[in-house]
């Protein structure tokens, strides 16, 4: 095995770390062994081309399966994709809207009331998203969605409050997380109750 191939094996080993741990526990050695076999029979470029081509889909599929714990392919996740896309679209729309109405809103309402309204908005939004995706996906997926919502809403509120405003207050961030979590938690509890009744 030449030096280039040795480096390739090291790089491939590092790339494998992106796969879920449970998958690696079972298949890391086998994948590395197969990669070495490929290098023995083919040139480096051809092997890497094949690896690069398959890596994104393979990684996503294994992570999806790992989260769901069963049969789940990227193409089956329409609802999750819709939920995440909605989050992103809401975040972008909110970001631009805040330029238009943000300052006016802050002039009419006191800072505290405006912030409270935003927190309630965060809670309601997470509640709806939670009901939407929680029905079909596990808690871990729901938590991933919740995290995305936090980022989206943090960007929105950060922009709305302006420099020196909410973003600089540590308790503002904690309040945001608490409200968002409360919305999601109530949503998931309600969903659980509804499923139990059925």
């Amino acid at each position: 095995m030449n030096k280039i191939n040795d480096k390739s094996i090291i790089v491939y080993g590092l790339l494998l770390n992106f796969y879920p741990k449970s998958y690696l526990k079972e298949y890391r050695n086998l994948m590395e062994q197969t990669f070495k076999d490929m290098l023995k029979d083919n040139n480096n470029f051809k092997v890497w081309l094949r690896v690069v081509k398959e890596l994104p889909t393979s990684l996503v599929n294994e992570h999806m399966e790992n989260i769901k714990g069963g049969k789940m392919k990227v193409r089956d996740n329409k609802r999750l994709i819709i939920a995440i896309s909605t989050s992103i679209v809401c975040g972008i729309a909110g970001f631009f809207l805040s330029f238009l109405i943000g300052e006016g809103l802050m002039e009419v309402l006191s800072d505290e009331i405006a912030m409270l309204l935003m927190f309630v908005g965060v809670a309601i939004y997470n509640f709806v998203i939670c009901l939407f995706i929680g029905r079909f996906y596990s808690k871990r997926i729901w938590f991933a969605g919740f995290s995305i919502n936090i980022i989206v809403w943090a960007a929105l509120i950060g922009n709305l409050s302006g420099p020196g405003g909410f973003v600089d207050l540590w308790y503002g961030w904690i309040a945001l997380i608490i409200f968002a979590f409360a919305g999601s938690y109530i949503g998931s509890m309600l969903l659980k109750k509804r499923q139990t009744i059925r």
């Binding site: 796969y19 086998l30 994948m31 062994q33 690896v51 398959e54 294994e62 049969k71």
Partner: protein
């Protein structure tokens, strides 16, 4: 553990993995090479796709690990060998039957005029 059951249709990769294992037990890289050969280069799997499929096929009961190992002198003992299960063999037969029926139909309807099957080297 997933319930062992027939799949309605097989993905091309799964089909060629089953086909690669129909005559003997093989390890991962052998399966990969055989699938590429059988598909005339159309199925080019990398280790990720290969072992992802193997994982799901093991869970579905289409293949199983072969515990009888070749002589370690001639082989790396870290490799795992796989073989078809009865369910896998039946699934492969069903799929081939489906293809065969489709080809017969296509032929009857003159959808394959002058079509030559590609030659395997």
């Amino acid at each position: 553990m997933r319930q062992k059951q027939y799949r309605q249709t097989l993905t091309p990769s799964v089909f060629y993995i089953l086909l690669a294992l129909c005559d003997r037990e093989r390890h991962g890289y052998e399966i990969m090479k055989q699938a590429e050969y059988d598909s005339i280069g159309k199925i080019e799997m990398g280790p990720g796709t290969l072992y992802g499929n193997i994982k799901r096929m093991l869970a579905d009961g289409l293949i199983e690990e072969a515990y009888k190992r070749p002589d370690p002198e001639f082989d790396d003992e870290r490799r795992k060998y796989y073989r078809l299960t009865d369910l896998g063999r039946k699934q492969l037969s069903m799929e081939l039957e489906r293809y065969s029926t489709a080809i017969k139909l296509a032929s009857q309807r003159n959808l394959l005029p002058g079509m030559e099957l590609p030659k395997l080297s």
